[in-house]
């Protein structure tokens, strides 16, 4: 089982959610986050006073999937979130040791 964590541009969230549904993902977790990468921050200007805002708003999408579909999931996110411009974000893939469905107590791939 794999955990796919993607940091994407907020306006791409709907596209990513649809793309994930199409490849059979049953659930995702979304968090509004702030950070910086190569895009860095931006500047704001108030009556000539310039303020550098270091952290930009992004959306973090977390998807737990079976190992056999992880490549399809990564491709789906990449295609949906890509604008070709700086600041499109990153996708991280990591291993999941165990999954438990709280309601039934099922574990492993059954619980995904």
């Amino acid at each position: 089982m794999k955990l796919v964590t993607a940091i994407i541009k907020p306006f791409k969230l709907d596209d990513v959610r649809e793309a994930l549904s199409e490849v059979g993902v049953k659930g995702i977790t979304v968090t509004e986050v702030k950070g910086f990468g190569r895009q860095k921050g931006h500047t704001e200007l108030y009556r000539g006073a310039e303020y550098v805002v270091d952290f930009l708003p992004k959306v973090k999408v977390e998807v737990a999937v079976a190992a056999d579909i992880v490549d399809k999931v990564v491709d789906a996110i990449r295609n949906a979130a890509n604008t070709g411009k700086i600041g499109d974000g990153k996708i991280f893939v990591s291993n999941i040791e165990q999954v438990v469905r709280i309601r039934t107590g099922e574990t492993g791939p059954e619980a995904l």
Partner: protein
């Protein structure tokens, strides 16, 4: 007796004088109450109060950080209440109580003689007194922008009480009072360019310097916390200003109508002036910019609103929009003082530009209603305007500095560093603006 009160504000523009001449022919005729004038002045008075609460209060509150939003609203509200009482006790008398070059005396202290029947020109004196009271409220409230986010509330209240007494009331008398020395020289200040805006702007500059910079200025980010409030406040100021300028005619007549027209036109020109300057210099037009430009235009047309024509208004507004843009964005940074919300950059600079250009665009050849001086033309008028500006700047700077320095020694002007970091809302009022 009451007749004397008409000229107070209307004698200054030559046109007002001319209009009065036929009336003087009837010499001893006592003025009678005009229902039309009275109805308009009741309305205008409410409009000017609306400029301070909530107009100016919101304009300022939006520009401070969230932790100080209530403190600014509170300062403006408390000033409104305190100035009202002081004006009734003695302020009105000092400014308009009687004849004199420098003050009006104390004959109308405690509003003695201001009754249901007393008239000021063609309106009840109660209305005139209350109308002037709203000016005595907004002028000190304008200064709040200069020392926002760091001044102790108690010190602020005492400062404002002393400032009304020793700065505002006397200067109001100089320009508008019976026998006031600046009024006698033919200065054109229809609605308060010197009395209100230069006066408050310079007092703000002095206060910003004596109170000192905010902790962390200019290194740390101090972004406006809610520009939605600021643009709402600017809109309210714009609307309320028709009471301020057109109301200063003290009558519902042609001059009031022209005052309304030029106020609208100059404000639009200044809003565009600031917006386009910012667009050129910084690359984008901003909400704070266009709102600031509108206020700069309102300030600049104030002294000229009884004498300039519509095309003169465009010139005055555009000059103020561009000039105040540099006042608020460049001058402050160059000189290093922390005038938090640009009380000087907008009201001081805009007031000076407006007061000088009033002398130019009052000339009939430029579409104006006529000069206040009898000879010498535009040059003579501009030099009288300059004299008024310099006299106001020197007097208000010196007296404001003395008041603040004395208070600094006796009770201190600033909150502690810890309280400043915590924010004035919590440290001064035990409240916060947003419990989200």
């Amino acid at each position: 007796m009451q007749l004397k009160l008409i000229p107070a504000k209307r004698l200054a523009p030559a046109v007002g004088l001319a209009a009065l001449l036929p009336a003087l022919a009837f010499a001893e005729d006592a003025p009678t109450l005009s229902a039309g004038d009275t109805a308009w002045m009741l309305t205008a008075t409410a409009l000017v109060l609306f400029m301070t609460i909530p107009g100016l209060s919101l304009f300022y509150a939006g520009m401070v950080r969230a932790k100080n939003a209530l403190s600014v609203l509170m300062q403006c509200f408390a000033i409104t209440a305190l100035m009202t009482i002081l004006w009734a006790l003695y302020g009105y008398s000092v400014a308009f109580g009687g004849e004199g070059a420098y003050w009006g005396g104390l004959s109308k202290a405690f509003l003695a003689g201001v009754t249901v029947d007393s008239l000021s020109g063609t309106i009840p004196e109660t209305v005139f007194m209350t109308f002037q009271m709203t000016f005595a409220i907004i002028t000190p409230a304008l200064i709040v922008g200069a020392f926002a986010e760091r001044m102790k509330f108690s010190a602020m209240l005492i400062f404002m009480a002393l400032w009304l007494t020793f700065v505002y009331a006397p200067i109001a008398h100089w320009v508008w009072g019976d026998g006031g020395w600046l009024g006698n020289k033919g200065i054109l200040d229809f609605a308060g360019g010197t009395v209100v805006h230069i006066n408050a702007g310079v007092a703000g500059l002095v206060a910003a310097i004596i109170v000192g910079r905010r902790k962390g200025y200019p290194g740390t980010a101090m972004m406006p916390h809610n520009l939605t409030y600021t643009i709402i406040g600017a809109g309210m100021l714009w609307v309320g200003w028709f009471g301020f300028n057109a109301g200063s005619e003290l009558a519902a007549d042609g001059t009031a109508g022209m005052a309304m027209a030029v106020t609208q036109i100059a404000t639009a020109a200044a809003a565009l002036g600031w917006m386009f300057m910012e667009w050129m210099v910084h690359g984008k037009p901003s909400v704070l910019g266009i709102a600031s430009g509108a206020v700069a235009g309102l300030v600049a047309i104030t002294p000229a609103s009884g004498s300039a024509g519509p095309m003169g208004a465009i010139a005055i507004g555009a000059a103020a929009g561009v000039g105040c843009f540099f006042g608020a964005t460049k001058l402050k940074r160059m000189l290093g003082y922390d005038d938090s919300l640009d009380a000087f950059g907008v009201h001081g600079v805009g007031g000076i530009i407006g007061a000088l250009l009033t002398g130019v665009f009052a000339d009939p050849s430029l579409g104006g209603a006529g000069l206040g001086v009898e000879e010498g033309g535009i040059a003579a008028q501009v030099s009288v305007q300059a004299l008024g500006i310099v006299a106001t700047i020197v007097y208000t700077a010196v007296v404001t500095a003395v008041i603040l320095l004395v208070l600094k020694v006796i009770i201190g002007l600033r909150v502690s560093e810890e309280e400043e970091t915590e924010g004035l809302d919590l440290s001064q009022h035990d409240e916060r603006a947003y419990n989200l």
